[in-house]
């Protein structure tokens, strides 16, 4: 009995751990827009709390954010930025620029760096600058970059991205690049997994896409769908 209770207590403790996006997120700019991508796993300790998470959150019509870190912190930060951008949109009376959205997120991260666990990537499209990607890691440094990766899984794909990212890709090429990269991270990072979600933002608007877990590209040491035993 005693050891059962101990088991239960350990399990309780695990559930009480912060719900965290041990994650792979990324965004890349291409000719005429940006593409964002993320896995869909949310964990509490070793337990997968959500296997179909959406880590690509809209900040306004033309800007999205990839969230990593604490799910609670990043969801609420996104809500704050949405609120500020709506205010801003009304005062400005025209399209919000990606840099403004990124800067608002930066204020939140920088001014509360001791309270928040949040690594973000802000990306979107505006008429003046076209597609832009902003990396916003822990601590609140804001850097405009051609592409950005983040979350625990990103450590496994620096080499892949450094090799395969090129300037002036087409939307299709960029999306393929992102899906490939995220799948490689998912293949090695236990905290990343599930499906791959992508968002492509161009002058024509936002297009979402979804790669179900069963269709995620398979890599070294894995068995592809063709080997799968059918569900009952």
């Amino acid at each position: 009995m005693a050891h059962l209770r101990q088991h239960a207590d350990e399990f309780e403790a695990e559930l009480k751990q912060a719900v965290s996006l041990g994650t792979t997120i990324m965004a890349a700019s291409f000719d005429g827009g940006v593409v964002l991508g993320a896995d869909s796993r949310t964990s509490t300790g070793n337990y997968v709390a959500n296997r179909v998470t959406d880590k690509l959150t809209p900040l306004c019509e033309n800007v999205y954010v990839c969230r990593s870190g604490s799910a609670a912190d990043t969801q609420n930060m996104a809500a704050y930025v949405q609120y500020y951008l709506q205010q801003h949109r009304m005062e400005l009376d025209r399209e919000v620029s990606v840099s403004v959205a990124a800067n608002l997120a930066k204020q939140l991260v920088y001014n509360n760096k001791n309270m928040l666990q949040a690594g973000l990537i802000v990306a979107g499209f505006d008429k003046k600058e076209g597609g832009s990607v902003f990396a916003l890691p822990l601590g609140g440094t804001l850097l405009q970059v051609p592409f950005a990766i983040g979350g625990s899984g990103s450590a496994y794909i620096y080499g892949f991205c450094d090799k395969f990212w090129r300037p002036n890709m087409s939307a299709e090429e960029a999306k393929k690049f992102v899906v490939q990269a995220v799948s490689h991270a998912m293949a090695r990072d236990g905290s990343s997994g599930g499906c791959i979600r992508t968002v492509v933002i161009t002058k024509d608007g936002v297009r979402r896409d979804f790669v179900p877990g069963s269709n995620v590209p398979q890599h070294y040491g894995e068995l592809g769908a063709q080997y799968a035993t059918a569900m009952a």
Binding site: L92, S97, S99, V100, N103, K106, Q107
Partner: protein, 248 residues
Amino acid sequence: MSGIGTGYDLSVSTFSPDGRVFQTEYAQKAVDNSGTVVGLRCKDGVVLGCEKTIISKMLVEGSNRRTYAVDRHAGMAVGGVAADGRQIVNRASSEAQQYKSFYGDIIPGHVLAERTASYVHLFNLYWYLRPCGSAALIAVYDRDGPQLYLVEPSGTGHRFFGTAVGKGRTAAKNEIEKLKLEELTCRQGVLEIAKILHNVHDEEKPFEMELAWICDESNREFQRVPADMVTEANTKAKAAKDDSDMED
């Protein structure tokens, strides 16, 4: 209807029976009675010009400023009470600074104009304040191109192609309407403003022109017009005026 002696014109928080706020109108008088300020939006930028009566020959040239940069991409010229105008300038520049630190971007023209107008308007709301006795011409060059706004003591703000406030405003506005602003460059605008200021100026007193612009030539930064250009415009304007006087 005149408000004098009725008691309805003593406080900014009092309406007259026919729905006017006389204190606001009186503040506008302060602008109407002082030196002319002209603003032109040309095709490549905005030029602002002020007529400054020289109250003493011992004044240092260029002292008693009327044009102020509010940020690198925005500036204003104030007509009326100079001291009140400076408060408006201070507020406008702190608005510009706050906007930049919050949004990480320069303040757009219409936002600056709107926020400045709200500030000026606040002085029309409380019995313990008085309306500002100055009007501000705001020149901005942002991603939407060059823009000119006018904020008046009542707190109203409008966008203009060209406008004028102060003693010579009526004559000045007549002159402005004759200009083809969409074809005019700022360089030409400087001369036009000089001519207008010379025309409306009461010849009894000596005066000084203060000109500022924001245009491609100034790297889209709000600056005083270079001294040699002002001198040149001054001479040409004076000559033009003498010519037309001869004809009369």
